[in-house]
Structure formats: C-alpha cells, structure tokens
Symmetry: D2
Subunit: 288 residues, 4 copies
C-alpha cells in the first residue's frame, strides 16, 4: 500500500532555522504559576523548595544538552544560552525550544516528590512554555542576562518588603501595595530595616541574585596569556570540525555542572571563566 498519495503534506512544513553566528537564548516560563503557588502552598515571598526544583530541572537540561553553555533562573523562569557557533538541531527554533521545554518539564515533574515530599502533584500538572531569541553580539547577550538579574533583584526587594509588611507587619495586600507604591530601592531597604530589623543585604543570595548554572572548570586569571588565546576563538570562522565538536562534547561531559548564586552583570564572572564565551571546555579542577 503506497503512502505517496498523502505524502505531499510534508511540503507544508516550513523551516525555522535561527540566524547563524548569533547567541541563542531559550527561555522557559512556568504556565499559570500564580495558581500553582496557591494550589501547592508555596511560601511567600520565596519558596526554597520550588527554587531547588527549578534548579534541579535546569541542571538536568544543561547536563543532557552539553551545548547549553550557561543558564540563568529566577522565580518560575529559566534562560538557557547556546553559543553563537552552536549548530545543535541545525538551529531549528521549534526543535530547540521543544526539546529544552520537554527536558525541563520531565525533570520538574520527576523531581517534584524529592523537593515536595508529602505534597503529591495532581492534575492539571505543572507545565512550561518557551521561546527562542537570537542575540547578535556578546554585549546583547550579556545585557539580556543582566536584564533578568536586575529584574530578579527589583522583584525580590519589592516582594520581600511587601510580604514583611503583611506577614510581620499585619497589613493586608492593599495596604502593603499602597505603602510601596512609588518607593525607591533605598526606601524599601529602610522599611525593611526600621520596621522589621531586616538587612536586605543579608538575605540569601539565591533570592537576591537568582541561580546560574554552568560547567565548572578551573578559574582563570583574567590577565593571563591563556585567556587572550581563548578569546581569540570568539573571532570567526566559527565552524568547528566534527571531530573537534565530538572531542569537546566528551570533555564537557566530564565537567561538573554547578548551580551558583552570583553576579552576572559585572565583568568579573565572565573574565574568570573564559571557557563560557570561547565555547571551549576549560581545565577540569583537581579534586580536593
């Protein structure tokens, strides 16, 4: 029985390859997480178990897809960054997005009982959507990550103050909102400190900075010759040989994937870890 009569329908598939030589960010967002928070009783302003679960899911994505060079997460969102030279799935947008969202979701659901023991999932299950965005320059990419990290800070300072007013100050939502309307950062810090003896600077880094996931190699002295050499690889041509790609993949598989809560906005993070931007695996640190 021939299938040829119907096979013409294949011609309706349209290519969606992302522009070569651009940094790809795939951002995953929780769907209807406000409802989720209520349903499972997430703590306010931050639920450590929920963040740990997000991080576990994101770590699994970075582990399963070694082409993901860095990931940044805050609240119910996670951004995965692919190097501008990356050719994974021929850079097809739907393939990249769906694979990452699926891997993230699978691990989120699978690891739920570990982070929320005693709180079983029920239908409808937690889900995520995703999108891919291209950034042509390194500056654009770093500005994207800075944007997310600044957002984390702004929201966390607001939420910390808001929920302190409610949980410690006994206000209701509307009163808290009114007090905070139009306040600057310094004023929120002041409210926290004067009313509740909370020094915002002492809040946990995971809440203030979000979470950064990457492969851990030996840190590098930014002024060293080695870095200059590595960074040369940022120049074109970008196409690596298949052998080199495979070799690098194996090296990456050996590296430890770590989750840190650390500043991505300043140069320091990037200068010390040139392997991230050069897309060349670094030196695996010696076990202590």
């Amino acid at each position: 029985m021939a299938n040829s009569k119907f096979e013409y329908v294949r011609n309706f598939e349209q290519t969606d390859s992302l522009l070569p030589n651009t940094w790809i960010v795939v951002r995953v967002d929780g769907r209807a997480f406000t409802k989720m928070c209520a349903k499972y009783g997430f703590e306010k302003p931050n639920d450590r178990r929920a963040l740990d679960l997000m991080n576990a899911a994101a770590k699994a994505v970075v582990t399963d897809l070694p082409e993901a060079m860095i990931a940044y997460g805050v609240s119910d969102e996670y951004s995965f960054v692919f190097h501008k030279s990356c050719n994974l799935f021929e850079r097809r947008a739907s393939k990249l997005v769906s694979t990452i969202v699926s891997t993230f979701t699978a691990n989120y659901v699978y690891s739920w009982p570990i982070c929320f023991p005693g709180t079983p999932l029920s239908f409808p299950l937690p889900t995520f959507d995703g999108r891919a965005v291209c950034y042509p320059s390194l500056q654009n990419l770093r500005d994207y990550l800075s944007w997310r990290q600044v957002d984390c800070h702004i929201n966390n300072l607001y939420n910390t103050t808001f929920w302190s007013l409610i949980q410690l100050g006994g206000l209701d939502n509307k009163e808290a909102e009114r007090i905070l309307a139009g306040t600057l950062a310094a004023e929120k810090n002041e409210i926290l400190f004067s009313k509740f003896h909370i020094n915002y600077n002492n809040e946990p880094e995971i809440f203030k900075k979000g979470s950064v996931i990457f492969r851990d190699y030996e840190l590098v002295d930014p002024d060293s010759h080695a870095v200059a050499l590595e960074m040369d690889d940022l120049a074109e041509p970008l196409q690596q040989s298949k052998t080199q790609v495979e070799k690098d993949k194996k090296k990456r598989a050996k590296a430890r994937v770590v989750v840190e809560h650390i500043d991505l906005i300043k140069d320091e993070f990037w200068d010390k870890r040139p392997w991230i931007l050069s897309n060349k695996p670094g030196k695996v640190p010696k076990e202590p």
Copy 2:
C-alpha cells in the same frame, strides 16, 4: 534601580504567529526512543503499556487544552489538531508547540509508574520534541491524518511480520530483513498466515489503526439537516465572539474525552462527528 538600560533586549524577540484560517497540527515525537525501548525493555513489535502511556499523556493534552479538536497517535508520535478558526495564544508557534510538548511530557513522566509498575524511570528521562505545521484546506488536513494512519498500517504490518519471523520463526534480524525486502502487503499477510497462522486482520485495532482522541458527543446522521447547518460554520467569517468562545469552552469541558482506534481516512468518521470540523461542541450523549 531602573531596568531600562537593559530592557532594549526585548526588541530582539520576533513574532512567529501562524497564518490565520489554517488548520494547525502540532506533532510531538519521542526523542531517541529506540534507545528508550531498549533501556526499558519495550515489547516488540508493539508494547501495549507504552501505547497506553502515550494515550494517557495525549488525553491529558486534549483535556487541558480544549482547543485541541482531535489528536492522532502512533508509535512514539502524537499529532494534535487545532481548528482553523482557533486563536489560542494568538497562534504563536513557539507558545503552542512548547505548551503542548510540556503538557505531554509532564503527563508521560507522571503516569509512567501507572503504566510501567516496577520499572522506575532513570536519567536521562524520556523527552519529546515538537513542531507546528499549517494546513490551508480541510483536504490537506485530512490528507495529513491519512498519511499518518497509512504510515501506521505500513509500519505495523512490516513490524508484525518482521518480529514474527524472529520471535516465532527463529530468524535473526538480517535474515528477517532480507526476506521482507521488496515484499508487498499481500505477501507479508501471506507469510504471517502460512508460517505463523496469524491473520493480520485479527490483530488489535490499536496496533493497526493507531489511536484517535476527541471529545465524545452524540453521533449524528450525516444526511440530517442539522449537519448541513453545522457545516455552514465552516464558511467564513471565522471570528467568534469572545462570549461564544467561552460558552463553547465550558460545553467542551463537560464532554468526555475518548480514545478510539478507528479509521480516519474514509469520510464516515467525519460525517458522523460534524462537531469536529465545525468546531462547535455537539450534544453530550445521555448516560446509559
């Protein structure tokens, strides 16, 4: 602290809305399922538990997204069809694909222990990718579904014969392949019958036809006046009022989502269920 300095990165997001007034098919495919089959010992040529799990995950998608009007699954793939008038997520491709893949994956992982008791999942977890394709005409859409169902038949007849030769006939893979090379359907039927007393027609419908998921309303006499009226809605204009959309959504929520193993190629299926193509909820059948 202002975020405006970095916010320009938003401008790099590009729209990916699918052409209005076209049928949208989102197809979900298992990633590396050959490995999966080996890892978890799926039975050959068909593993009923694996198909039940696929169906459970797909049923959850149709239940959670009432806009999905019909779904068709075979092996490790599932196609979800959205009506040409559907405006879900403003028809953004990445949003549609990622949401469906995420919902599918979440339910696959969550329901795994029910379908595979005693076979716990391990890393890397099963994942799926997805893509969206637009079909401008109803004929194109039906040809797409026919293509998948014919494919199901062709593959199943081949696989049933192939694995009979191995499991019952004691051949190895290469011998079985050689015997089947270039054979027609009739010849495969003959091999099954003469060598192994298997009448292919008596094989389970789920293996021969795959699985069809839809909302179950009262069947309709295709010649009736009601159908003619319903089908008029296939004509333009397609924009429904928001109230009507909400009303229909509620009606759909009440309908039972069923999984059947049934022919989609001939007209009969469609003629009896005009609500599928008209995108208007049918009559909920009385409880027996």
Copy 3:
C-alpha cells in the same frame, strides 16, 4: 584562487517560502505619491493619465508573468493575485515581491512619456514598494479584493465631493474637511447633486470601481456543466505535471490581457470567468 574561505556567508540566507495551497497577493504601493502628485501636477481628485500609466505598468506585469491570474488597481496601488497552486519561484516571498515591483517600476518609468508627454521625469524617480500576503481560502481572497474595491469607492466618493467643494464651491481644504466630517455616503451624494448637479453614478467607472486586469477568454454560462467540471479543479491535489504547466503557459500567452472597470464583489464576475479560479486557461474568444 579559491573562494571557499568566504563562501560560508551563503549560509546566512534564510528561506522565505510562502505556505503552499494559499492564494498569494502581492500588493505594490507608490512611495511618497502625495509628493509625486504635487511635483508633476496630477489632477484632483483623479488624474486619468496617472491611472492609465498604473494600468499600463500592471498590464505589463500580468503579460510578463502569466502566473498572475488577476490584478486589481486603485489610486497608486496594485494587487497581483497568484493561484493557490502557483509554484512560481518556489513561492519565495522576496523573489516574488521584488520581481513584480521591478517589472511594475520598469514599465511605469518607461511608459511615463507616453502618458505624460511634455512632463519629463526628474530625480528622485517614482518608485514603489511591495509585500506578499497569503490567503488560505477563496473567500479570504475575494474578501481581500472586495476590501480594496470598497475602499476605492469610499475614497472616490469622498474625494469627488471634497474637490468639488474646493474646485467648484470655492472652499478651502479645511472648510471642505469640516463639511464632510462624519457624513454618510447618501449625504455626500446629496451634496454633489444639490450643490454641483453632479450625479455620482455617472462618474467614470474607472474612478468608481478601479481597474481589473485579467486574461480574456470566452465568457461562460455559470450554470453550465462545463463550469462545474472546471471548478472541480479547485479541489486537491493541486500539483500539476510540468507538461501541463508548460501547455497552460502557452495557452495563456495567446490570450489577450484586458483592463476593465467592473464589480469584483458580487459573484457574477467570478461565475462568468471560471478560468480565473480554476487556473485553467479558458477558450480564446473568436475574433469579431
């Protein structure tokens, strides 16, 4: 000398094929035509020479690209329609748009001295831009053309009244605008008739209806058997053999390309000319 070092830049070209089985409309618009009108002293509200030039340019497009099945023009815009089965330039948007805009522009500039004798062109020359839009259903396509023709009518009635008030009534622009603000069609008709003894119905059809360009075959009795047969070709499958495509192309080359000022909104136009929608060349009418 090898070019291979640089040839990688080819990979940055991205495909832009339009969805198969959809009607393609390429609309060409005059750039900065308000300035053009002033610069070359176009008559108000309609300049017959300018319209004749638009029609000459559009006729050349339809003649040079026999795949253009119908074109509709009004003011400084022209829409060219390609059949849903058309595979010209593999349906690449930029190729279609640029070729049509270029052919249109070349003929506009070339034929200028014929329509505007004594008014030589000067820099910057008149130019046009263009875009391609896909319409999945015949109804969508006809609604598009109706939209343009209704627009023609609305604008022409307004402009005719507006310029009568100025040219015949001695008002200035602002006064004329104020009088017309919020008026219905009937009121504009009334102003024309009572103040200036102009019966709008007697205005030239080219101003009221715009211009329609197509290949002229023998008109057909819409109820005839032949039409039913032809219209069957609107059904799938749409892929014609290459031989048939070539044959049809030759037949089309023989047909006369005509410019008419005629209603496209009602069914009559389409019913009498089934060859337009069937995309099969009709019968060339006998010379009188």
Copy 4:
C-alpha cells in the same frame, strides 16, 4: 458605507522584521540577463556601457536612501549594505528589498538612453530581483563583500581569457571551454600573456575589482585618536536619538556619493574610512 466586513483580511499580513543589530545586505540581481546581453548586443567579456548603467542606478539608490552605507556591484548584481544600527522601515524585509529594487530599476530604465544611445529598450523591459540577508558580525559582513569581490576577480579572469581565445584566438566556445577546464589563475594569466600579449594586471580596475559606492569624506589616518573614538560607536547601545538620526541624515545628504574600483578585502579601505562602519558622517573634504 462601512468597510469593516472585509477589513479582517488585514490580519493575514505577517511581520518580516529583520533581527536588530545585524548588518543588512540587500542584493539586487538582473533577471534573465544572459538573454538581455544577447538582445542588446552587450560586448564580451565586459560591456562598459552596461556597467556604467548599473553604477548609475546603484548611485541613485545610495543617494535616495542615505541609510545605505556602502554598495558593491559586479556584472548584473549589486549589494547594498545597511548599518547594523539602521532602523529604516523598521527593518521590514519586504519593504527594504522592494524599495531598493524599485529605485534601482527605475533608474536603470530611466538612464538607459544615456548609456545606450541609439539602442532603445523594448518589451519585456530589463528587471531585477532582490533579497535581504542579515550578517551578525562585522567579520561576516566583510567576508560577504570579499566573497563578491573574489567572485568578480575569478569570473573576470576566466571571461577575459575565454573571450580572448574566441575573439583573438579564433576558437569556438567549446574549444575555449575545453582549454580552460581545470586551469589555475596562473595558467590563465600565462595564456593571456603568451598568446595575446595581454597583461591581466593592466586590465581596467572596474573589470577586475568591480565597483564600490559610498559617501566621500576626508580620509583618515587609521592610527589616529579620532578613529579610535569613532569606532567606539560600534559598541552598544545602538539606538540613536531621533534628533541625531535626522542631523546625520542631513550631513550625509551633503556628502558626495562616489563610485570607485578598489580593494575591499584588505583592511586598508576600512581603516581609512572609519565613518562607514561607525555609521557617523565624516568630514566633508574641502573643495580643491
């Protein structure tokens, strides 16, 4: 009379904005120019009148669209480069491509009688198609231009030798082809010199290098402080204020647009003209 019933067709237009912060190249190509060459008797291997006409048309494009920062032409093709910060037509691909192709075509047809006096155009008129491609990095852009200029050289050396063999050597096409098959550049140079006493290096620069069009400002010492300052503007943020954009536009309008035949591959061209990459108008040179 309301147009709203049909206006929904507007929703079928899809956006085609090019990725921000990437260099845009719009390449225009002659359609069926082999036929054209034969029809109008273009000289072989290069027709100076035809190249002058291409250059006149391209110069008009650069003059009319000051956002075009540089253009490169060879044979029947021309590439127009827009700065990565350019926001002309909101970077809509079809608008950019169609406008450039239209302006090019209008000027080509208009200026034909000047370059080809005594050879009137006839139907079908010469036309061009076009496409837009984005290049994320400056290296990619320069590699694109180098690719075209190397292509110019390769083709011109081949064609010069090929037509010498025919026009001076009395061979026919096939014989000439056979002799050249597989030859290296040095061998072609040798054939030219030994057989026809032609020193390829002495061929006109326009044939060997193609044509480069840009705005002419005072050349700059590449090592100067000024250059370093200018090039800083290559860094982000790229959004200029509207006032600055307007100011720059006026400055550009004053600059002379020049056509040169000059090497684009080496750094020298770019180093001496930092205004091209910085997208800031340079100093208008004093009249001699």
